[in-house]
Amino acid sequence: MIAAPKPDLVTVNIDGVDIAVPKGTNVIEAAKQLQKDVPHYCYHPKLTVAGNCRMCMVEMGMPAVDPATKAPVIDPATGKQRINWIPRPQIGCGTTVAPGMHIKTSSPMVKDAREGVMEFLLINHPLDCPICDQAGECKLQEQATGYGRGYSRFIEEKNVKPKRTQLGPRVTLDDERCILCSRCVRFSKEIAKDDVLGFVDRGSYSTLTCHPGKKLENNYSLNTVDICPVGALTSTDFRFKMRVWFLKQTNTLDIESSVGVNAVIWSREGVIYRLTPRRNDEVNDTWMSDSGRMLYKQVAAADRLAAITVNGAPSGLDIAINAAAELLKAGSVAVVGSGRASVEEQFLLKKLAEQLGVSAALVARTGQGDTLLISADRNPNVRGALVTGLISALPAAQLTQLAADIDAGKVKTVVSHGEDLLAAGLTAAQLAKVSVIYLGTHANATSAAAKVVLPTLHTFEKAGTFVNQQFRIQTFAAAVPGPQGATNDLAVLSKLVVALGAPATASDVQALWPALAAAVPALATMLYKNIPETGLLLDATPWASLPFVEGETLKFKPVASALTT
């Protein structure tokens, strides 16, 4: 590994404590390193600095030097270099650290300035927290407790602005709550590259709106909801469904492509209410696509498989496993794995294939990459299958070899881990010729035709790891229990492996990992619990020559273009 170059460090003094931070850091970020919170609304670490909310004001001073000699001016009282404090507060977001800079984050001047801003922000705000969806995760609400007056001096009529505006299919705007921080405007322009938002009118009557004839309908529109510090922009899907303080947060990954966007599942009592992005500066910054968020709806979809069946009749797990084992023992088996399965599942499926003496196939899923956070490879974990050795070449979209083998009578039984064989290129006639053992979450033509159906868990219902396009291994955790009748994929696979005569294997992620790490060279020395939240980069050299389909995305450059640029 190439060591990252050491950044130039600048030493600043914040509230009397010296700290060295990389050159170019602003005061908010520098203070954060000392666990000092500089309140702010408009500043966002991944957007340009606007400096308009004026909440992050701090007191700033520089060491005094004699203008003529440039020699430090020493304060006789302290024996130290005197600090020339600027008599007016400065914004923390727009102030970049400089050597020797002194900052006060909680002096009377700072407190007074912040209280003034807080009062100003509230006078025309509707103060409708009891019916506002943002309550509980509202910066205005939080900081009002720290800097608010506690009563109002404002007896005038508040400004009236549009309510419940549909900015697009997924975002609802309440202009009266908007504090005009312009985060959403900057996001649309700078990140989504879809410059549709702006302000009309001026002064306190300024109103956020879409440009005439435009809509906020790009696939990243819900990020504006995330970064809105108040309840102005809300998710049309989530609003009024649940108070956020009731929701449990579970780390997960976006399953729509190989980017591996870090996300959080918000759930309560087994029901998922929303998905939001989780910051990972190496993968997705703080962003996530709308389409990825909506995938939580798969979990409670009407076509979820929940009944174990053998020959179409309801069955129990062990009976079904035995029925499957009988089919497998008869030989002529083909194994179809999944790029949507976890590394652990792929590892066990590989064991199964090895026991049967066959190699597994995978079904490729590709589409146009959006250059941001959706890549051309719509399977989240094809690289996991490579790493575990389930496959050794990139998959094709069509199972042509399997089709030929069925036609030739070489295959009598197919194990499919979540893949619809009809969608993967088999004909109904070919499907009818074989006995299918189907492990999956949702009903489809293959599950309907299968001899044995073993309902399994959705990604959001189980723990595991994916390897993304960067060969970064990242973990996800179970947020909600699966439907009654569904079994963890690892349990099903380990039962099948045992039924075929192998010794018992662990069937939960943590317990499986020692065996996994021992068997998979790329994962040697690793343990599941040691994988940090931001993931670990694996050595990708063994697969460097494979023609991966991904183009450039936010934090990823394909190897070929990386070499040429």
């Binding site: 606007a50 400096g51 909310c53 004026r54 003034g116 100003f120 025309n124 400004n159 302000f199 002064g203």
Partner: protein
Amino acid sequence: MPAPAQSRVIFQHIDEPGYTNDLACYVRHGGYEVLKKSITRPPADLIEEVKKSGLRGRGGAGFPCGVKWSLVDRKSGKPIYLIVNADESEPGTFKDRYIMHQDPHQLIEGTILSCFANNVKQAYIYIRGEMPEGARILEKAIAEARAANFAGPNILGSGYSCEIYVHRGAGAYICGEETGLIESLEGKRANPRIKPPYFPAVLGLYQCPTIVNNVETMCHVKVIADLGGEAYAKTGTPGNTGTRIFCVSGHVQRPGYYEFPAGTITMGQLLNEVCGGPLPGRTFKAVIPGGSSAKVLRFGERYKGKRKVGADMVDYDWGVEDVPMDFDCLAMIGSMGGSGGVIVMDDSVNMVEALANINAFYQHESCGQCTPCREGSLWMKKISSRMVHGQARKEDAALLKSVADQIPGRTICAFGEACSWPTQSFLIKFKDEFETYAEVKKTLPADRLALV
């Protein structure tokens, strides 16, 4: 002491019978001679002359022009732009428009000279949206100057080329703030930029080094190029060189514009002798000395302190009438020379109502970008508006002052000061009027002029 005589330099030909705004007339009166003799000089000489002249910007802040020019980043390799700020919008100010309407070539000559000095190839005159006539006159004048080779390519065969474009604003006070102006010129909302990092001298128009100067300042540059910096500095007083134009409006006998050597005339001389004193039967009550955002002065109050005269510290004890009308003396007594817009109010004026009017203006012109100005200006307006509509409370005086105190020094641009200084100063100097307004209002005729 009698008032000094007017010394019309910039306004030499304003209102002169027979003087027209075309090129022929300007040339007949010696126009473009300064350009002819200066274009062969090294540009650095001209910058040096401007530095020596001590010229202070006439837009309002009084920042030394030579210093402004020396701050320009000349090493970036990027083009340097010059913008003439012709967005004259400060209430009470009406000097630039006369230059543009009646003597546009004076501005063009000064602009070309300034561009030449700073190696600027492209200049913009950003003119206020409400001055369409001025824009037409300027465009015609630029075309004339170009045809006569005083502007455009290879000026007077010197090899130096410079184009001037007129850009019309869309009617917003904030476009007079230099970074707001630059945003507007770039085709965006005129939201002023945060400084740092966007100092025009380094990251101005199109992120290139940019000089923004007032119309009148450009005309002074022409005078400096003609006379030389040292000779120019002999007019006026040290630190306040050249002439100053005062635009006097309000309750005087002869409102209008007057040009004097800077620092040589006092407020009393200006109002009583030059402008003929108060209207019959009236007495002066208050005066705003530098455009409506300057802090108000109350007749009858005394200003005491020490000031530097030459090398000595001298005690001063002035009434409003005694204050010399220069940047430093007006700053010393807590107001500012600003744009030279002197607004006079006599004893017929109710200060609550006057402030209500000013607050309505600033509220309407706040860009709305940053919190203290956006919310504060409207809040102040709502309070003063409510007061003059008969709903005044005694505590409104203290509230107004407190709201105003939460604005200045905390905003992106100087509009925060501009909108809060009137309220702060009115409340400090006329607090009693605000506290008793509820009672006073009851005595006023109901059919008085409709107020904001």
